[in-house]
């Protein structure tokens, strides 16, 4: 059984405004019998003031569907259409004192029914934005299609990266294995595609010695210039609730922090001084990309294999900070050829 707040229980056991509204001039119906939940929202709107005078609902569904419907009617009564239009599924969930993550779709259904009713009042045709794809992350309502697109468009290779781009897997983590499966599938498809491309190229080229080797171990074939981990759009997406908005700004050039960007050969057997110089140079190179997105990274100290940095600007506190740190770390390790730990510290730390 789900853990429902007292308010959810109150609205489920004693729903407000349940039933048919005679004389409704705006009706929104969403869901279906086959889906296991459906909501018919009926509104009586004053045609002159456009204020919602009455609201009623009929719902087929679980406890939170009924509670969300009841909450929705309470929320819209007395509002103007424009105020009602601005209501979100979050508002419905908040009104109820929260819903279990797996039940957030009930609030989404309420929000959709409201948009449908408003469209009906305006004589418009309303279409659900909700695309039919398997829901992977129930905590954040992210489906397989969104995750797959994020992986392909940005050459993502870890669950953490998927989380940073789409929010999937950043809650209860029960969807981790599914995300890993999608990563594996996309990587396998990409490897097969590049192998096929290499084979096609081989047949085109007459002399066998010119045939380029297929990148057998390349997990994901990056699209040129598709990845910028410090993109402002990515940061916005990480903090936005709607996963559909997790669209990465198309960058014109590839960031060296890209997991798939070509790495220079590691240097070995260097002196401490050389090592620190190399670290300085590498961080200096990376700062170009960080600054573009309003952030910055300054080298504070090098203590054995620990590299202390100070993140500033847009990098501080943003959910991408950990990705930034691990990106710098990967880059430094590749350059120096030794294990490095990057530790973000305050500017005055020594």
């Amino acid at each position: 059984m789900w853990e429902y707040s007292d308010k959810v229980q109150e609205h489920f056991f004693n729903p407000k405004n349940a039933g048919v509204l005679d004389g409704a001039n705006a009706v929104g119906q969403v869901g279906a019998l086959s889906c296991g939940d459906a909501l018919k929202l009926m509104l009586h709107i004053d045609p002159v003031t456009e204020i919602v005078l009455e609201a009623k609902f009929q719902t087929y569904g679980c406890g939170s569907s009924i509670a969300s419907s009841s909450a929705l009617t309470e929320l819209v009564i007395g509002k103007t259409l424009e105020q009602a239009r601005a209501l979100t599924n979050r508002d419905i969930a908040d009104f109820l004192g929260g819903l279990p993550p797996e039940k957030m779709h009930c609030a989404v259904m309420g929000h959709e029914a409201l948009q449908a009713a408003i469209a009906d009042f305006r004589g418009e045709v309303w279409r659900s934005e909700h695309e039919e794809a398997a829901l992977v992350c129930k905590c954040h309502g992210v489906d397989a299609r969104v995750i797959e697109r994020a992986i392909r468009d940005n050459a993502l290779s870890t669950v953490e990266q998927v989380g940073a781009f789409t929010m999937a897997g950043t809650g209860c983590t029960t969807c981790y294995e599914q995300i890993e499966d999608i990563l594996l599938r996309v990587a396998t498809e990409a490897a097969a595609a590049s192998a096929a491309a290499a084979a096609a190229h081989a047949t085109e080229v007459a002399r066998p010695e010119t045939v380029a080797a297929a990148p057998a171990a390349a997990p994901v074939a990056p699209r040129p210039g598709s990845l910028n981990l410090f993109s402002a759009a990515v940061r916005a997406a990480s903090s936005a609730p709607a996963p559909a908005k997790a669209i990465v700004r198309p960058a014109t050039e590839s960031s060296p922090l890209s997991p798939a960007s070509p790495l220079p050969p590691p240097s070995a057997g260097m002196t401490n001084l050389k090592k620190i110089r190399l670290i300085e140079e590498t961080i200096e190179d990376l700062r170009v990309y960080l600054r573009k997105d309003g952030g910055d990274c300054e080298l504070i100290d090098v203590d054995g294999s620990n590299v202390l940095v100070s993140l500033t600007g847009a990098c501080v506190g943003c959910q991408m900070a950990s990705v930034t740190v691990s990106g710098i770390q990967e880059r430094l390790m590749a350059k120096l050829g030794v294990p490095i730990r990057v530790i973000p510290v305050g500017r005055n730390a020594h």
């Binding site: 019998l33 939940d37 459906a38 009929q58 719902t59 087929y60």
Partner: protein, 400 residues
């Protein structure tokens, strides 16, 4: 108000006599059964006695055919993985679409990782196996057939003894997940073709976290958990002695109460079912009317969603379930009912009432009193009910 528990297929109350039997093994008899000294010896003797109690319940020939495990899920996993390893020249599994997730998710995983090809056999509207499809799937490539004895959601009983005979014709090992059947229906493995059987303590008034895998003498077996020589090196790890003693006691009690399960408990179930069908229109009972566990009824209420019914029942002090406890956290309708092709209007409205010897006649009265009003209230709120009522007001309750 006394709370009424009708979710015994999820778990049962541990019998007080079971708890009494267990207690000294936490305190007085705390020795390790594997130790050579007297502390260990007395515990080892008790563990053997418990094994014999289980042997009796299952009608097994030898007590050493019983391997203690942590429960049904481990037993199921051990059986299937063992068979694949024991018969390395075979890589196919035959199972059904209505198995417990302990089987289904393992099989899906084995298929996904390329370790086995799995035949998921379908069922008919009453949940009975498609025998033609089963026969067609059998071949000398099949390492193991795994079919449940009784379904946890509907109670439908598969004719496993006969199904095992068919598997034998092709040299495959036969495993049955009998977690729901053990203790509720008579079992005799002695002369059967069943090679392996899984059971779980907490489904028969025993403790949680203990179960067993029966492996017929002579059947090939490879351990899932390797380690010490416990369980004749078939399941490593120090024995969970108090739980084993509890399971043995639960098995003894189950044998004593078998007639009650088949008699009084079944009558309670039948009375509830009949009354609900009489008083609530548009209901379907899911499962096989003739071959069904005596304690289970799965009733689908058209045009309402089961969780809403359960919340109301719970507030009225009645605990039931929407299906298998393991999947009740998911939004998907039951895979069992989907495989049975239950009509769309009823698919999301199934409620499972599962009884035990702890239930009394008053429990049934309480449900009969509360349920019609709950369903009516929810239907009034449903956008589909008014239309459906017009279409089906002359329809009779049906048994799927």
């Amino acid at each position: 108000m006394k709370a009424i528990y009708l979710d015994n297929n999820a778990t049962t109350r541990t019998d007080p006599a079971v708890v009494d039997a267990m207690l000294p093994f936490f305190t007085e008899h705390f020795g390790n059964a594997s130790s050579a000294h007297s502390f260990g010896a007395e515990v080892g003797t008790a563990v053997k006695a418990a094994r014999q109690q289980l042997q009796q319940l299952l009608g097994a020939t030898h007590d050493h055919e019983i391997i203690y495990t942590s429960g049904g899920t481990e037993s199921d996993n051990a059986a299937i993985l063992s068979a694949l390893e024991a018969l390395p020249d075979r890589n196919e599994i035959v199972t059904s679409k209505v198995e417990h997730p302990a089987i289904l998710s393992l099989c899906e995983h084995l298929e996904k990782t390329g370790r086995a090809k799995v035949h998921f056999i379908g069922v008919d509207g009453s949940g009975q196996l498609d025998i033609d499809a089963y026969r067609a799937a059998l071949s000398d490539k099949v390492a193991v057939v795994s079919l449940m004895w009784a379904n946890n959601e509907t109670g439908t009983i598969f004719p496993v003894e006969g199904l095992a005979e068919l598997a034998k014709e092709h040299g495959a090992l036969f495993h049955t997940d009998a977690v729901q059947a053990v203790g509720k229906t008579p079992i005799s493995l002695k002369d059967s073709a069943i090679d392996m059987l899984s059971l779980s303590g907490h489904k028969l008034h025993g403790p949680k976290g203990i179960g067993a895998l029966y492996v017929k003498k002579g059947a090939r077996f490879k351990p899932l958990i390797r380690g010490g020589h416990q369980e004749r090196a078939r399941r490593g790890g120090t024995e969970n002695v108090p739980a084993i003693i509890g399971l043995g006691k639960a098995a003894e009690l189950a044998l004593q109460h078998m007639a009650e399960e088949q008699g009084r408990v079944k009558e309670l179930r039948d009375r509830l079912e009949k009354a609900v069908l009489q008083r609530v229109p548009n209901c379907i009972v899911n499962g096989d009317r003739h071959d069904r566990l005596p304690n289970t009824t799965n009733i689908a209420f058209e045009y309402v969603e089961s969780e809403a019914i359960l919340l109301h029942l719970n507030r009225g002090g009645v605990a039931a379930s929407s299906g298998s406890a393991c999947t009740s956290g998911s939004m998907e309708p039951s895979h069992v009912l989907k495989a049975m092709a239950i009509p769309e209007a009823a698919l999301h409205g199934a409620v499972r009432f599962s009884f035990s010897r702890d239930n009394a006649s008053e429990d049934v009265d309480r449900v009969i009193e509360a349920l019609p009003g709950i369903v009516e209230k929810l239907r009034e709120m449903s956008p589909f009910w008014a239309d459906a009522e017009k279409k089906t007001n002359d329809s009779k309750p049906v048994f799927a």
